[in-house]
Amino acid sequence: MRKDRLSIIGIFVYNIEVAGKVNQLLNQYSSKIKGRLGIRLNSDKISVISVIFIGSTDEIGAFTGKLGQLKGVEVKSLLSKEAVIYD
């Protein structure tokens, strides 16, 4: 049993060339991701992705950190106040 947090991670992708790398990262962390929804806007130039991620604060930080380092990507996360005991 671990104490994980619920998180909703919001991602704006302004650069279509980087979308492949974003997907790769999502794949890498797929065991932590409970769901994702992505919508393309502005004649498909902008992607907005919402991810439900359950993990420790370190894991959430590592994931959002790697995403944020990609050029043309903005990330923000919302973490639950309480630690969720998740097995």
């Binding site: 065991s31 409970k34 769901g35 929804l37």
Partner: protein, 77 residues
């Protein structure tokens, strides 16, 4: 033409192949929603697609159906 395609995988390993097939048609994909069900070893993905021709949707469907062990349901709106 607007379409929805639901893709069901029985192995999370196949998701990289599905993702690269989708990426090569990314210009027609408007949105996607994916839910992995790890306990059932199933991955469900629904995409919304907008095409100007039959050819575009047929190309995408044939690329997806080429992937082994993938189930596809397609609905044209």
């Amino acid at each position: 033409m607007i379409h929805t395609i639901t893709i069901v995988l029985n192995s999370v390993n196949l998701s990289t192949e599905v993702n690269s097939a989708l990426h090569s048609h990314s210009d027609i994909i408007i949105g996607r929603m994916g839910i992995p069900l790890h306990n059932e070893n199933t991955f469900i993905l629904t995409i919304v697609v907008k095409t100007a021709s039959e050819r575009e949707i047929n190309n995408l469907l044939s690329d997806l159906s080429r992937i082994e062990k993938v189930k596809i349901a397609h609905l044209t709106i």
